[in-house]
Symmetry: C2
Subunit: 410 residues, 2 copies
Amino acid sequence: MNIVVAQSGGPTCAINASLLGVFRHATKYDEIETIYGSVNGIEGLISNNLVNLSEIICTDDDVELIRQTPSTVLGSCRYKLPDPTKDIKVYEDIVSTMRAHDIHAFFYIGGNDSMDTVMKLDRYFKLNGIDIVAIGIPKTIDNDLPETDHTPGFGSAAKYVATTTQEIIRDSSVYSVPSVTIIEIMGRDTGWLTASSAVLRANGETAPHLIYLPEKPFSTKKFLDDVREVQKTHRAVIVAVSEGIELDMAELGEEFQSGKTDNFGHKYLAGIGKALEKLVTKEIGCKVRSIELNVMQRCSSHLSSKRDISEAERIGGSAVKAALKGISGEMMVFYRVANHPYNVRIDHVSVSLVANHVKYFPTEWITESGNNVTDEAVEYCLPLIQGEQNIRYKNGIPQHYVLQQELPHK
Amino acid sequence: MNIVVAQSGGPTCAINASLLGVFRHATKYDEIETIYGSVNGIEGLISNNLVNLSEIICTDDDVELIRQTPSTVLGSCRYKLPDPTKDIKVYEDIVSTMRAHDIHAFFYIGGNDSMDTVMKLDRYFKLNGIDIVAIGIPKTIDNDLPETDHTPGFGSAAKYVATTTQEIIRDSSVYSVPSVTIIEIMGRDTGWLTASSAVLRANGETAPHLIYLPEKPFSTKKFLDDVREVQKTHRAVIVAVSEGIELDMAELGEEFQSGKTDNFGHKYLAGIGKALEKLVTKEIGCKVRSIELNVMQRCSSHLSSKRDISEAERIGGSAVKAALKGISGEMMVFYRVANHPYNVRIDHVSVSLVANHVKYFPTEWITESGNNVTDEAVEYCLPLIQGEQNIRYKNGIPQHYVLQQELPHK
């Protein structure tokens, strides 16, 4: 039999490691002949665009380079499957590609939306008595998938956030004048990644002094009070804020309300960091800077967490093992067995418990003041950022693996 | 005799290495007794806020940690001295501090403004027959100081820009839909750092496809044409743009001209990247993202260029040697002796040739089309980004050296 693996959703530093996990584990089994990769996630299966991974991952060098390349070597997509009981055309296309390649197992590395795809495919296969299994492999820097202790990709993103925040603290603290630095961190719905900036406490940092997550309502008035309070004891105030927090426009002054919200609140143009920067400039008047960590927090593989990369590869391999047992419609998960020493066990749960659900940052890990996180958050994150990858450089730049030249714009 | 060293201007990854260079070289001379550090640049000499560096840099561990800590361990300032022939009060304060500590040599690590300070102090000392020498040690990520082949700090910033741009290329290329990604890079007046993104060619990258520097006038119409042209052959278009380019507002449509420039051109709120993002969204309509590399490009010491750090330390040491010869009013410079193998010689030139002058990116290294740089730029930059520092991590985060707890806001 043959199998196929695909990558979906937003890029991370660990999604290629999970691809390697599937590929390298699958090559160990005699019953698996060809390991295909689907280009651009499920789109490759719909349009019959597969590659034979054995022809691509040929040497130990290839493995090393793919492991240290961020983003998805097979490309990605944001494709949502229709209801399999209503619109079956696309399912027939997928099955047709799979039949043509004698594929009996499908592995989808992705986040919430990708698990929806796994769930629907599994349902379609079962409804129609098709002997193909579908397994989900978690991936997202947001860490917002239920049932699993954490998601591959999160650890590397958290390591980037912590390291970069610490460097920004140094950068922001050089002048003798008071300043406020606002760091905008990814996470539209959940505050996991923003909270990870608190791990700096383990190394004796007192900043970030204020941490705001989308799990708590945000008040601009309270925010300004918080900043003024921290200024009493710190010259350089560092704020970590989740991109997902929402400003209460009613709370803002007239300038921001008079139909001119585009000047201020325009979330999609300039982001929450810029908005808060403008607010502090106007209301407090000191030196202010906002910094958006942007896509760097999900693609800075030169700074990956070794544990994250290794776990991502391991969970990919476990997915193959599960598929060979006939498991289908399940997502692989981590259970944290212990923190000292850190230890996880891999298992799987019904993908229906994950798809279209969100795991929020625990509100009991947010301090009563609503502007910081407790030490439980630090304890939780710290093990996930441990270890550094041995990155190969060429000409002073990390070497990347590129599957193919990008296609011209049709 | 005693000496004093200070750090000034914007932070870099290499300015602490130059401090170490001065300190470690000075400890080799019997005639130098105490090596002072001035807190917050020249401000520490004005207000008599000095530290004894021997009491701070005690162990090899201290040296290692300071070398890998970004920004300035002694703090910085943006203080411009008055004309020494007109207002002498501040000069008297500085000399008073120096006299009180038996200081006979002053080393100032900084950029253009700091060289102005060195020049004025030297003039004041000479005018008044004061036996103190003043030496400048170059530092700036902008690489815009005349007379020197390059400036310490630039190589590490260029390595960050190249590495991060490459990661952004991977991140931007995953989807099957056309996209434009705009990377905004530091450099208000000069395009050195933006141009450094072209080193990726050495590793086979074709992106960034378009590179715009402030040394050439920027036309929004031409920019849109350029993007459309690249889209014919590339699905994911990558643009590197210097923060210093200026939009010709007259060229823009009515929407951007009708007194509402704040919505679009507001350089200080959202930057040129956001402005171009909005322009592409409006005029081309594909997926667009802008990314500001912000302060990360000057403080990401976890990714420093080993050559940059080592040269920064070396030039600091050479400054001590020059001072002991009685040299004053000079800035240390690099001359590039050869590129293959790379080799530099250290010398010094009159600081008057540097202070208040700017070294622009050579226009002959900009392609005729005005939207890219030639291979000469790549040849120039490549040697400066070579090698990686061996960074010490603790709890998964690089270890930093922090001189003192920051002072409360007065």
